[in-house]
Amino acid sequence: MTFDAAYILVSLKVAIRFLHVTLLLSVIPLAVGIAVGTPIAVCRKFRVRAVSQAANILIPVLKGIPLVLYVLILNFLILKPLDRLAPYYAWADRLRVMDKIYIGIAAMSAWAAVTISETMRSALNSVPAGQYEACFSVGLTRTQALRRIIMPQALKFAVPVLCNNFIGLIKGSSIVYVIGILDILGGAMTSAQINYRFLEAYIAAALIYWMLCLTVERVSWRLEKRFKLKTGG
């Protein structure tokens, strides 16, 4: 078999139609990850008893599980019960054969929550203790201190790392192909199924992921620059 660059273009055209799937699989988990991970990080920072104790044990453990296992295990946990319900309930049968993108989003979101809670924790720790003390000394409550003083400063640290997390989510989302979701990678593969041009299809998919990641990197630089301007240093 020889290599024919023209087929890259063919695969590109097919794969790009699945761009929205990859974006759904990375943007929603990013949002969920921030929404869930930030409160966890705040509870750990302020040592809110129950939550912080649970998180201190769970987060390091969950961090050790590779993303592909999140996808495989969640796929199994959601599909198996549906398999059993399917003979009795029509909705279960429909869910079972439906596009599995919701499973992918759930798995990516769980993984993102773990990753991003760690990002936010180091962001909160990046703000010097004196800033917290100054807040309390002028009579701000914890919530006021967080919202007005700590978070704005923590974000300066967090934004580039969150952009990195986002890049990780975009690249990681390709893993959902193991449970048969048609994203950019899956889409590129469908084109190869017809003409057996696998190498060209993989290169086409890689190019799209690359462009996505470069775009996020650009945005990250912009944001960083803006934060630097805002605090005058």
Partner: protein, 226 residues
Amino acid sequence: MGKLFDAALVFDYMPAILSRIHITFLIVAVAVAGGTFLGLLLALARLRRVPVLNAAAVFYISFVRGTPVIIQMFIVYYGFPLLLGLAGIDINRWGRLNFVLVSYVLNNAAFMAEIIRSAVASVPAGQTEAAWSVGLSGFQTLRRIVLPQAFLTAFPAFGARVVNAMQDTSLAFTLGVLDMLGQAQAIGIRTYHVLEGYVVVALVFIAASLLLEKSFSWMGKKLLPN
């Protein structure tokens, strides 16, 4: 079809799955060793601004860091034989594991290059100037003054990279390599109990990640007493 999850099977499957752990270790060891070596060369090309090579390194590092490792693996699997075929080398009979090893080395090289480059760049210029002032050659300066200092700076990022590399090996099964996850799936096909196998693999990865993290932070403390 039995229960959804049978805890007893976790123990039953443990030995069979653990018997494939050497594959994971092999991939990590080769990927980190080969990746560090290649990464050092890439970093040097960038730091010295070697014409052409510098641009090629920038391009290569950006591509590897901007694309999923799973795709890189398949590109190597389909592309490497073609590339070597041009040079008259026939590797069509290579086992799949070899392709996994090559792709993980290439993948880690890019990450290691960035870690090494930024660590070397963080060593103050005064250190290099001082080394020159006492008559050290360029290579001596690098080997005796700059790299040892850069090593300390790079160490935490290096540790994090090794943990990531280990987690990335969980994708080798997609190329048909019979590692722990491959074994779990093989058992699942035979017995219709795949979840228990996944749980075993998850436990092994959790233990390995915690162990690696702890030992790197322990070594970090030994290296940097302050």
